[in-house]
Symmetry: C2
Subunit: 430 residues, 2 copies
């Protein structure tokens, strides 16, 4: 494989000509593919269709008519199902509507307006800040931006956020009120937090008394290759005497239907009591019929796990195509680095510095829409312009194969252009 970093200007110019021709061939194919979001493909959703016809009864275990008003925090059988699946006691849990993002946003809003456990509401403070391990999930960052919360970028390492840096920040700055975490198969890199990282997050000393971890376990059962496990954050915070520190989020959006699943929030019992106090004013209750549908469809936690294996079988060939094509086309070129994720929904790659935007723009001009470059960083600002999130789930295998081949051409072309620019700069500097 040609290592572009050691090429001469002449070699690069030759390579550029070849790449531009290949790129134009793709342009002339008028591709139209959206790989911008982590959306399941229709074929994957088809595997869940039976849930729409699965309702056996509308009376819940405790005798409630699920069609009617009543039950703020979720029907008992739904709580039990997710308790078994995630190892969270039902007392720590509220089942919400169809969106865990909605639960996160509303929870952040409550902290802004009311504060937690007697601490000052965050909106009454001059400034509050949140730690954003990056690359990370753009919708988390958007919540901070919407609510006027300053974001501090924290580098991601192979086993989670850079904890030395996190600990040093939170120890001294009481305006740092929390951290966003996707602890298993993180969005976008697929990083799985090590036990040590979970323990340090749970036990670290924070200047803010009301420091909060938003623990978005979005991919908690979304294994694709090797199955990873996650240390129980509630046990860790309990052991450290920080029981109120964590809000845990989960949903079936990528288990059943993204538009019509069931979401949950879990926290300490005293935090849950606090949430319910306001939630009971906000709504009489979430959609209990849909909770029943979910329980009737899966029956047990093992039912969900078995279903996730089917979904993994659907997703794995797509991840294979992405990873194999990257390996074949770009390993050893010096133009791209990436790590193989074992689950989740994304493959994150890093281009040469200053090449992510150009690569995404080239792909877009050839009809393949990727997640915007920079989106994985706070304020959409990737300081090195390197990270790109590839979402393999939505296209068909055939479409994906073509799209990722085009992507590799774009990486090379943007990389070669950058290397040529650098050579010009070097000459001018002489």
């Amino acid at each position: 494989m040609l290592n572009y970093l050691s090429c001469s200007q002449e070699e690069l110019l030759k390579e550029k000509a070849v790449l531009e021709k290949t790129y134009q061939d793709y342009v002339s194919q008028h591709l139209k593919l959206d790989m911008s979001r982590g959306k399941p493909a229709g074929s994957q959703l088809d595997l869940n269709n039976d849930i729409l016809n699965t309702l056996e009864t509308y009376i819940t275990e405790d005798g409630t008519d699920a069609r009617n008003y009543g039950i703020l925090d979720g029907i008992p059988e739904a709580k039990n199902l997710f308790s078994d699946l995630l190892g969270i006691p039902t007392e720590k849990m509220i089942i919400g509507g169809n969106s865990s993002l909605n639960l996160m946003y509303d929870n952040f809003v409550r902290l802004m307006l009311f504060g937690s456990q007697g601490n000052t509401p965050w909106c009454k403070l001059d400034k509050i800040k949140f730690l954003c391990p990056s690359p990370g999930y753009d919708r988390h960052f958007a919540i901070c931006e919407d609510l006027g919360v300053e974001m501090i970028m924290v580098p991601m390492k192979e086993d989670g956020p850079d904890m030395d840096y996190v600990e040093s920040l939170v120890a001294k700055d009481e305006s740092i009120k929390g951290i966003w975490c996707v602890p298993l198969y993180s969005n976008p890199q697929g990083v799985c937090y090590s036990d040590a990282v979970v323990e340090r997050l749970a036990s670290m000393k924070t200047a803010a008394k009301d420091f909060r971890i938003f623990w978005d376990n979005a991919y908690g059962v979304h294994h694709i290759y090797e199955e990873h496990t996650l240390k129980d954050i509630f046990e860790a915070t309990k052991a450290a005497g920080n029981e109120d520190r964590v809000y845990y989020f989960f949903s079936t959006s990528k288990i059943t239907f993204p538009g019509a699943g069931v979401a949950l929030i879990a926290s300490s019992e005293s935090n849950i009591a606090e949430i319910k106090k306001h939630m009971t004013v906000q709504t009489i209750g979430h959609d209990k019929i849909n909770q029943l549908r979910t329980v009737n469809y899966f029956k047990t936690a093992d039912g969900i796990r078995a279903h996730m294996k089917k979904l993994a079988d659907e997703l794995r060939p797509k991840f294979d195509v992405v990873l194999n094509t990257l390996e074949r086309e770009l390993a050893g070129t010096g133009l791209l680095t990436w790590a193989k994720p074992d689950g989740g929904y994304f493959v994150a790659v890093d281009t040469l510095e200053g090449c992510a935007k150009a690569t995404v723009a080239l792909a877009k001009d050839a009809g393949v829409v990727l997640t915007g470059a920079g989106a994985t960083y706070p304020y959409k600002n990737d300081p090195q312009d390197r990270n790109i999130r590839i979402a393999p789930s939505y296209p068909t295998l055939e479409e994906l194969t073509k799209a990722i081949e085009l992507f590799c051409v774009c990486v090379k072309l943007a990389g070669v252009n950058k290397l040529l620019e650098d050579k010009v700069d070097e000459e001018e500097a002489i």
Copy 2:
């Protein structure tokens, strides 16, 4: 009919003895009835069960897969259905989740945190106040209480809030930021706002530039006897140049299922743009499958209207029982006043001053739970302790008959006790 107000002490004592015996007969029956909330009965919900099996497709009119992510503001066919039903242009509308209360709460929260149309966020102001026509809906008042908004009671008249009073308040106090309205078959009195009231609300001068009407048209198609219509508030605010003044709410909670219906918020296009800006951060989208179910079930606005006639046929006998029993047992006694509602979910009554709490307590001790006395006023404080909300929908006709007969006994007993106390006070005062 005995007019208790003109009875002597002796007559009252005699009557009291009879009433206490009758009351004890009810107590010994160990009734257990909940008439506290406006919940549809199971038999009424049974009329909607087909909606659970009605889904014809999961692809929406515009080709979106309703199972997947996408569409923040509602599927086009749902917007069209409610646009036809309510006469609201689709551009002014967002279809939400299962709860209009949730849309109201979230909308209030946005006004607190972000303000509207460039005005100061309400949480940044020292104090804000809201007008609460009373008796009114306790959950509206709870939102104000939760968010720390001072409530000002406004008397209800036969055709809506006392507009002279409303206009005099809002003209001079810019901390008054809005008013709660249930404009058709109001909760609890069944008051229908006249055209003049709607026009005055739409056009009145307000000291606050960002004065907002929360227009909760909860019973917009919930006719029981004579059908009333409601003047179009959007046309009225447009004519008056106050297009941003109104947020309109509606839901199918009492059309299909209270726990699993579809809700909407409507407002000026510029307010809707403002809402979407934040809502797109809060959620990727609401449950589109349930929106499709609703459309597939009703097909057209006329389909909803025909369905509402069936529900009215189910509810009318219950309202008949309440109204006929009150008439038979209490007309001319001087102990209770009420107005016949033509729609909605409640019959509101007024006892003698200082008798509502005692009446509700007597009913409770005999096993019939009514809405708490005072609940229909801000801070749960009915200054005259007179108003009681009767919710006839949930019990069976048989249960209701018994419950309302007991209720009449409680009204009389509490009334007689009060009149006897007054006589003692009079004597002591001599």
